[in-house]
């Protein structure tokens, strides 16, 4: 499953480069920001500015960078997500085809939810622990704004 995604995204990235659209953005608009860990890099795209400004004032500024919450752990999945998002967002950015109020995708939402659970294992244990068979409670339902309001 994961491998398939990598393949798909790599293929997409290659196609994008071939088209010259994503690729151009990737270089000129600093799309490669996706590959580094510095939150300021995300803010290279001005539409990430609100989130960046919010993050700077958030409780997590000292605890987590954008990537800590928005990419899955592990090298391959991490870069797969980055490549996938990097391509999709570069493409969107270049064509301008994205909504004004950006929304996290359902897939990326689960990535983020997993990130919370990874850092806060102790608490997760208490919240989900005794409820052996019960479904998880979504952290984001109550804490959606911890990274950036």
């Amino acid at each position: 499953m994961k491998l398939r995604m990598v393949n798909l995204t790599l293929a997409a990235l290659v196609t994008g480069l071939a088209l010259g659209v994503g690729g151009y953005t990737f270089v000129y608009a600093k799309g490669y920001s996706y590959l580094v860990n510095d939150p300021a890099a995300c803010a290279n795209c001005h539409i990430m500015r609100d989130q960046f400004d919010g993050w700077v004032k958030s409780s997590h500024r000292k605890a987590a960078t954008c990537n800590d919450c928005h990419t899955p752990p592990g090298l391959i999945p991490k870069y797969a997500t980055k490549a996938e998002n990097g391509f999709r967002h570069s493409f969107a950015f270049t064509t301008g085809r994205y909504p004004d109020a950006i929304h996290i995708t359902p897939h990326d939402r689960t990535v983020t939810e997993r990130a919370c659970r990874k850092c806060h294992t102790d608490i997760v244990g208490m919240i989900d622990g005794p409820h052996a068979k019960a479904k998880d409670l979504s952290c984001l339902r109550c804490h959606g704004s911890v990274g950036h309001p």
Partner: protein, 432 residues
């Protein structure tokens, strides 16, 4: 110290004792879960908010009623309630509700018990009945329920010991939430059937998030005792809105073959209905329910205790706990959040007063017409308006959030109540 906390955190619960389906006493559960138990016991606290919480009124214990503290009387706060309920037990004694710790005593000793012979059904929501039901039913919950419903209250009362306890909301082995109340199980089945879902089984189907409201919906709902078996029934067969519930009561017939009534109004002879604590029903019409916010989110918010993060089992008014109950979702200052609630409540309360005045006027007019010897048939339309008006009004009056659980809906209901009362007066005035 940090080391210790990390330890605690990793293995947050020590299974000191084995809990089973027959472990009723919360103190035993408390050995495994001391933090939850400590909070659970704090529901004895009495603190008043503008419209909620409760006030501890000292009283001299008697043999018949050993309570040394009760909550304030609502009848004294607003004597119009006595007129609304004339001829019904509620006109005798009706108090602000208080914490869970008191539920069994308050039910046992309310003066309403002196006026009417109540059935065992009552205990469904005022005691830990899961054990007793199973015992009486020889392992079959439903059978025990049916059996205890039909006992006189005093007899059934002997079979229970605790107010709502851990076992009523939790599975003793997994600690998962569960619904143990037949009233709710059957009520949800009827509700879902109306939506075309057959044989809905709440314990098998509901999500964890839903369960965080359903465990409360076991009791915080409108109800009536159906038929001679006094079967506890939640009137949700046509839906959860006030008009759906009234339509249901209009449709089911009482012993007299006429639309079901709780009692005949003493002053007007109207076939009256009493609404009771429809928190679950009103909440379901509000923006919070629609946003997936559960009862437990506000009334049992998470709290930190050392390295633990637990659900606050000190169930109470969220206005006494705004920081945890509201501020994770709403980043407004505490005072501002309180003011928002109170703005909503003040508006609801104002409308409730107008609706109450309208109802008083109608009752007075019917009474006058009756005294003047008007024919029953001439009074009937006005009496039906009274039935409607007072059920609508009571739906908000008896609901305990003073409108907060669904602000616009609460005021909509009160507006319609006013319309019914005043139309009743007009109908009467057209009688020659």
């Amino acid at each position: 110290n940090i080391m210790e906390r990390k330890q605690e955190a990793r293995n947050p619960f020590y299974r000191v004792v084995e809990l089973t389906e027959t472990t009723e006493d919360p103190a035993i559960w408390g050995k495994n879960f001391p933090l939850q138990y400590d909070d659970y016991r704090r529901t004895v606290d009495q603190v008043r908010t503008r419209y909620g919480g409760s006030e501890a009124m000292p009283r001299t214990p008697t043999l018949a009623d050993p309570r040394s503290r009760v909550a304030q009387s609502k009848l004294e706060e607003d004597p119009r309630l006595k007129t609304m309920w004339a001829g019904y037990a509620f006109a005798k004694d009706f108090r602000e509700e208080r914490g869970h710790a008191y539920m069994l005593d308050d039910q046992t000793y309310t003066e309403r018990q002196q006026v009417v012979k109540q059935p065992g059904t009552c205990l469904h929501c005022h005691a830990s009945v899961y054990g007793p039901y199973r015992k009486q039913g020889e392992g079959d919950l439903l059978k025990g329920f049916e059996k205890m419903n039909q006992m006189p209250f005093a007899e059934a009362r002997q079979l229970v010991t605790h107010p709502v306890a851990c076992i009523d909301c939790h599975d003793p082995t997994t600690m998962q939430l569960r619904v143990t109340r037949p009233g709710f199980i059957e009520g949800m089945k009827a509700l879902k059937a109306a939506d075309g879902v057959k044989d809905y089984d709440v314990n098998a189907t509901a999500t964890r998030q839903e369960m965080r409201s359903y465990v409360c919906g076991q009791c915080h709902v409108e109800y009536y005792f159906k038929g001679t078996e006094k079967r506890l029934t939640y009137p949700w067969h046509k839906g959860l809105k006030v008009e759906n519930i009234l339509a249901y009561y209009d449709e089911v017939k009482g012993a007299d073959g006429k639309p079901f009534k709780d009692w005949t109004h003493a002053e007007s002879a109207a076939p009256a209905l009493k609404a009771q604590h429809p928190e679950f029903e009103l909440w379901s019409q509000g923006i919070h329910a629609r946003s997936g916010v559960a009862c437990a989110d506000c009334h049992m918010p998470y709290k930190r205790v050392g390295a633990h993060k637990i659900s606050d089992h000190h169930v109470r008014s969220p206005l006494l706990n705004v920081n945890r109950a509201c501020q994770t979702c709403h980043k407004w200052p505490e005072e501002e959040l309180k003011a928002r609630v109170e703005t909503i409540q003040d508006r609801t309360h104002r409308m409730r007063n107008l609706a109450m005045n309208a109802l008083m006027d109608l009752i007075k007019d019917i009474k006058t017409a009756k005294t003047a010897g008007k024919a029953d048939a001439d009074l009937a339309p006005a009496q039906d308006f009274q039935r409607k008006a007072q059920f609508y009004l009571d739906f908000v009056e008896a609901e305990n959030s003073t409108g907060f659980h669904a602000p616009q809906e609460a005021v909509r209901i009160l507006g319609e109540s006013i319309d019914f009362s005043r139309q009743g007066q007009v109908a009467l005035s057209k009688v020659k």
